[in-house]
């Protein structure tokens, strides 16, 4: 190890990999992963969220986790976005592509994509 910059580079590379253990962040993306959700394709959605959040550099702000049956099986895969101090947003009939869009527009840009939410379906 010859410099602080070298150490910092390792730290930066690793940070996203351990940040998950620092507990739940202010913003949570919860994917419904009950049998019905999985059957409707929730797993690719979950993985797309994890990837997009990490690639977008949001790992220390957004926690992606899963939950059981949300109770609206006809709308699966269902994803809820909880943000501190805001009303929760429920996205329905999600796909991996839509997930990436939500990360980009909603989590990064702060604009809820109304057409994917439950009220418009």
């Amino acid at each position: 190890m010859k410099s602080l910059a070298e150490l910092q580079a390792i730290k930066d590379k690793m940070k996203d990999k351990v940040v998950i253990r620092e507990g739940v962040n202010e913003t949570r993306v919860v994917v419904g992963m009950a049998t019905c959700g999985i059957a409707a394709g929730a797993r690719p959605v979950l993985n797309a969220f994890v990837e997009a959040v990490n690639e977008g550099g949001l790992a220390d702000k957004v926690t992606v986790s899963q939950t059981g049956c949300i109770g609206i099986c006809q709308f699966e895969p269902v994803v809820e976005v909880h943000e501190a101090g805001k009303e929760k947003v429920t996205y329905v009939k999600m796909t991996a592509e839509k997930a990436k869009e939500v990360v980009e527009k909603h989590l990064k840009g702060g604009n809820v994509i109304a057409e994917y939410t439950i009220s418009n379906n």
């Binding site: 190890m1 010859k2 998950i20 507990g23 994917v31 992963m33 049998t35 990490n54 986790s65 899963q66």
Partner: protein, 605 residues
């Protein structure tokens, strides 16, 4: 892409309760469910809640599963990791058995962790101790980098001095001052030594730090080396800590690989080499001069001080020796600064202290709290209180060198000086809780047996004095003591304290003196009434059968291992069979009869 981490405790406590097979089961089930790309398995150091081991934490939600068995793993993987349904029955709930917490309570909110302040243990149970990258991700080696590139050795020493950090091995000697004594001494070679010869019965914080976060010790020792001008360091660790030794060696190898040990670290011109030396399990080798004698390859015996190690230590060269927990504080003080550190603790004891909770307490384990926390808070709020509704009697601190804190002083704010003031000692901070069923004379005898065994024999007061003390205590517990014996006991204690060569002898009488001070009535009961109030000392016990209550079932006689129970001719009114009686001559006071009697007809006194 990894979306969840499963952390499995690989500390000694959980390893002995089977965490290895749980890890294997997780690996197999994660594979079987096709989750290898999504879920990462991490073996960590101790989480602290050893009584509930083996423990498993699943992130990002932080679900804390306790007492996991290999059979449970399939369910956790299929339900939680695959479907996101938390397995409620395995979730640790601190509300006790009556009510399960339905929603996941973050670990940091449970009563065990809530008032803890994990500085020294911050990485234990969080990172994989065998991955240097994970340590670096948690600001690891940044303090070494800062010290080497931005600070002079004098500034490092000043920072540690100003922080008020005191030696966590027991004595409480100011660490910065110790370093400043060594730094000006000129020599061709100086040494930094880490004392990891943790020998107090009931103490295991040093082991947990080495197992859970070995790199922080390496980093701290290199910082110490830079501060005092030493280029070599030794970690003296018990051979009885195989996991700690193994992880430390791996960590040292990785640090060399990254150039964080060896030549010209951070291009600063500073060289530092680190070696492990294994102790053979002699308690006296935890004493600093005996430890150095042992590293030199000689029989582990203490040597008189002065000269102090700062002048003539290891191989007669200037040496700084600190305890594992002391070192573990160093990197964070350098990184976060003096103000941060001094904001925790009391006026003269800054920072936090790790305690190993043991004995009659619900949550056996490791806790880290700010100095100055009351004993009541530690035992009742963090430790969960005394099991089975028993009454608290005393807490023993500092192992064989320490004393005890009785109930009347339970609101004492625990720090170095307050404990010394009540005739106790921080020691290594094993905290053994005793309830009404513990006999204090017997407890003192237990520790004396330990020191008699462990006395190295070099000086007379310790070698012979502790032996005589033990004999006197033995007589007292056998009902052969007199009131004069108690006075003689006290006199001999003070003699040993004043005349022994090293800390082992000087502190060996402490358990006796402390119990004499706070529980003299128990000693008097043993010598005057020939009774053991707690019902522990067998020679002072007698078991009797209440012949009016005895229904003559004969279960006691059947189970008596020495056939000391016989049928009598007496049939109590209302009963059909003759009652039994105990032959006191034959009775070995094992108590089996009492445990077997369903009619509470047998009593001990």
């Amino acid at each position: 892409m990894i979306r969840a981490h499963v952390l499995i405790c690989g500390g000694t406590g959980c390893t002995s309760s089977g965490s290895q097979s749980i890890q294997e089961a997780f690996a197999a089930n994660i594979e079987a469910n096709g989750l290898t790309e999504e879920v990462k398995l991490v073996q960590t150091g101790c989480f602290g809640l050893c009584a509930l081991g083996p423990v498993v934490i699943v992130y990002p939600d932080g679900t804390f599963y306790s007492r996991v068995t290999p059979e449970d793993v399939k369910e956790i993987v299929e339900e939680h990791l695959l479907k996101g349904r938390i397995v409620d029955r395995l979730v640790y709930s601190d509300t006790g058995a009556e009510e399960k917490v339905a929603d996941v309570v973050p670990l940091s909110e449970t009563s065990f962790y809530k008032s803890q302040n994990r500085v020294v243990l911050r990485n234990c149970g969080v990172i994989d101790p065998e991955q240097i990258d994970e340590y670096i991700a948690m600001d690891g080696y940044a303090a070494l980098g800062k010290a080497l590139t931005e600070m002079t050795p004098e500034e490092v020493i000043k920072t540690i001095s100003d922080s008020g950090l005191r030696g966590r091995g027991g004595g409480g000697f100011p660490t910065g001052f110790k370093w400043s004594l060594c730094a000006p001494n000129k020599a061709d070679q100086k040494y930094v030594v880490c004392n990891a010869d943790e020998g107090d019965p009931g103490a295991f914080m040093d082991r947990s730090i080495l197992e859970g976060d070995p790199h922080c010790i390496i980093e701290a020792m290199a910082i110490a080396g830079y501060a005092i001008g030493a280029t070599k360091g030794y970690v003296y660790v018990r051979a009885e800590y195989p996991i700690a030794v193994d992880r430390l060696q791996k960590a040292i190898d990785q640090a060399y690989e990254y150039g964080l040990l060896g030549k010209n670290i951070f291009d600063s011109g500073f060289d530092f080499d680190l070696y492990i030396r294994l102790g053979a399990g002699a308690f006296v080798c935890g004493e600093e001069t005996a430890l150095m004698t042992s590293i030199e390859g000689n029989r582990g015996e203490p040597r008189p001080r002065p000269p102090y190690p700062a002048v003539k230590g290891l191989y007669n060269k200037p040496t700084v020796e600190n305890n594992v927990e002391t070192f573990a504080n160093i990197p964070q003080i350098i990184l976060k600064g003096v103000d941060w550190f001094t904001s925790m603790g009391t006026e003269k004891s800054k920072g936090t202290k790790v305690f190993a909770l043991g004995g009659k307490i619900e949550h056996t384990g490791l806790v880290e709290i700010p100095m100055g926390t009351t004993l009541r808070h530690i035992i009742y709020d963090i430790g969960g209180g005394i099991p089975n509704g028993k009454k608290f009697k005393a807490a023993q601190t500092g192992g064989p060198s320490g004393g005890c804190i009785p109930e009347s002083l339970i609101d004492t704010e625990v720090d170095f000086d307050n404990l010394t003031a009540i005739g106790c000692m921080m020691g290594s901070s094993g905290l053994i809780v005793m309830d009404e069923d513990n006999c204090m004379v017997d407890m003192a005898k237990f520790f004396l047996e330990f020191t008699v065994d462990e006395s190295c024999g070099k000086c007379t007061p310790c070698r012979i004095g502790t032996k005589r003390l033990l004999e006197m205590l033995d007589d007292i517990t056998k009902g052969k003591g007199t009131l004069e014996d108690i006075d003689r006991l006290e006199e001999l204690c003070n003699y040993i304290k004043q005349n022994s060569l090293c800390g082992l002898g000087q502190t060996a009488p402490n358990p006796v003196l402390a119990t004499l001070k706070f529980f003299r009535d128990e000693y008097i009961a043993h010598v005057v009434d020939k009774k053991c109030p707690a019902g522990v000392c067998k020679d002072l016990l007698s078991f009797t059968i209440d012949k009016e209550k005895c229904i003559g079932c004969g279960l006691c006689a059947k189970n008596c291992p020495v056939s000391a129970i016989n049928k009598t001719d007496y049939v109590a009114p209302g009963h059909k069979l003759p009652s039994y009686e105990i032959d006191a001559e034959k009775c070995i006071k094992c108590g089996v009869c009492m445990g077997n009697c369903k009619f509470k007809a047998i009593s001990k006194a």
